[in-house]
């Protein structure tokens, strides 16, 4: 029976603030799962801690709401244990780029075939609006007593530098475009990263929906002037086409340069894609040839409620 969009929704009460950008991201994710026809019991949504962390409860697939900053560790574990699963990790910008930044970099180096989506709202939404790592130096959002004293992390640049092999940015109010990006990210063979610009109407009074739409610019120039534009409309080619150092370096550096654009013009779309770099599963099968046929999730670990692993022989051999 073909699955419909409604099949991917749960009945769990949603307590996000009205107008929160998170709604658009959840909708896009559900639409993407439905469009790809992924079986509900063959996908897991892992989430971090934050407003964004509730996402896993709203999607009717396996869902694991993990620890602050640790979503990538659980998600990578889940995928390694059962490589058949479609794994999507989601979390806040504080979760992934503050406390979880070390895991972010380590995940890039592994290139496990899964998708990571950061809900980028510039604040710690759940804990009442402190500056997140993506808020710019000198900016003062609603909850801050004085302007931000830290320089911002560049999520796209960090992903590219850490070895992520698909790096893109979406906008939570362009749900269709975001849905298409998610599908591309999930279909990408390797670790894909999506930085999603997500207005937080409650605490971020700078990067608002109107700001992204360029309402302030329009007032000056009297014409519609969205800050957001699509890389694909500019014929930007993010793909590494052949295995050559200069080709890779060119695509990496153009992604980095594009990622620095901010202010009047903000690019969304795919910044970088490289399917030539080996996936982690290929690196594993080099060592464990039957890994994909017999991954940990398919191995029997208990019988009649007791573990099947018996270490008594090893212990006996150590007895003195």
């Amino acid at each position: 029976m073909a699955l419909k969009l409604a099949d991917y929704k749960t009945e769990v009460h949603n307590d996000w603030c009205p107008g929160c950008g998170d709604f658009g991201i959840v909708n896009a994710l559900q639409m993407a799962l439905a469009e790809m026809g992924i079986e509900r019991d063959k996908a897991t949504i892992f989430s971090g801690i934050g407003c964004s962390g509730k996402t896993s409860h709203f999607i009717n697939t396996y869902g694991v709401h993990t620890l602050h900053g640790r979503v990538l560790t659980f998600a990578q574990g889940g995928k390694l244990a059962n490589p058949e699963m479609t794994v999507v990790a989601v979390g806040g910008d504080g979760d992934g780029l503050g406390i979880g930044a070390g895991h972010f970099v380590a995940a890039g180096r592994r290139n496990i075939d899964m998708t990571y989506i950061i809900f980028d709202n510039g604040v710690y939404g759940l804990t009442k609006g402190q500056a997140s790592p993506t808020l710019r130096l000198g900016e003062k959002t609603k909850s801050l007593p004085s302007p931000n004293t830290n320089y911002n992390v560049n999520p796209i640049g960090l992903a590219v530098a850490s070895g992520f092999t698909f790096v893109a940015r979406g906008y939570s109010y362009d749900v269709r475009h975001l849905k298409d990006l998610i599908i591309k990210a999930v279909r990408h063979k390797g670790l894909s990263f999506l930085d999603v610009l997500q207005p937080c109407p409650t605490y971020n009074d700078i990067n608002t929906r109107d700001w992204y739409a360029g309402v302030d610019l329009a007032q000056e120039s009297m014409e519609r002037h969205s800050r957001i534009y699509k890389l694909e409309d500019m014929h930007f080619d993010p793909m590494v086409h052949y295995d050559d150092e200069s080709e890779v370096n060119e695509k990496l550096s153009q992604a980095l340069i594009k990622s620095l654009e901010w202010g009047q013009k903000i690019p969304i779309g795919v910044f970088y894609q490289n399917e030539i770099i080996s996936q982690y599963s290929a690196r594993l099968t080099d060592r464990i040839p039957n890994y994909l046929e017999n991954p940990p999730a398919k191995q029997k670990i208990s019988e009649n409620g007791l573990p099947v692993t018996d270490v008594s022989e090893i212990l006996d051999s150590l007895r003195i």
């Binding site: 769990v12 019991d41 063959k42 409860h57 009717n60 620890l67 244990a81 699963m85 409620g305």
Partner: protein
């Protein structure tokens, strides 16, 4: 651990023994949710007070099950019980046994129970083992006598002597022997602190 799931599945279902059949990621029809906050039977995050009470009661009821399921001799290993009996845990076992055999050669019998299950504490079993013991000696590699505190909290009985070492070095059988001998001769401090090792 389930191999297959039919019909509606609740990962954290309320059951008589407090244990819910477990699915795993990818099992057909076995969808569940996990969260670090309190959850309902499906695993969805909740703050409902009634569910919270039932979930906590279910969780904590498993402590009784643990005591019942783990064999007594894996909870506590008894190396004999005498008027003087040592309680201890962990790496101290070897030198304690050596010190006991040194004393035995002199005709002094000291008992020893090694407590392996700390929580839930096997109170009834430990109490029954020590019912004829007159002097309890707690030997531990830490400053405060952590096991002694847990012992007292659960058994309502005082530790008579502590032999403690917290220099980062392992205990030696001879220093344990020396302290035990002082205890038997009624010359020891309530708290004997060991210091062997350069």
């Amino acid at each position: 651990m389930l191999d297959k799931v039919d019909g509606e599945y609740k990962r954290f279902a309320f059951t008589d023994d407090g244990i819910s059949p477990r699915s795993r990621l990818g099992l057909d029809n076995g969808i569940f949710w996990n969260t670090g906050d309190e959850s309902d039977e499906f695993g969805h995050i909740t703050e409902d007070p009634q569910i919270r009470i039932k979930m906590m009661d279910k969780r904590m009821s498993r402590l009784d099950l643990v005591i019942k399921r783990i064999p007594d001799d894996e909870q506590v290993v008894s190396f004999g019980v005498h008027d003087y009996t040592i309680i201890s845990w962990g790496s101290t076992k070897g030198p304690i046994l050596d010190a006991i055999s040194m004393l035995k050669k002199e005709g002094i019998n000291v008992g020893f129970i090694q407590i392996k299950l700390i929580h839930p504490f096997p109170s009834d079993y430990v109490k029954s083992l020590l019912k004829n013991t007159k002097i309890i000696i707690d030997i531990e590699a830490n400053h405060s006598g952590q096991l002694g505190k847990i012992f007292k909290q659960n058994i309502s009985r005082e530790i008579d002597y502590f032999i403690l070492k917290y220099t980062g070095r392992g205990m030696t059988s001879t220093e344990i022997y020396d302290s035990l001998k002082k205890i038997v001769e009624n010359k020891a401090n309530k708290r004997e602190v060991l210091s062997h090792g350069a």
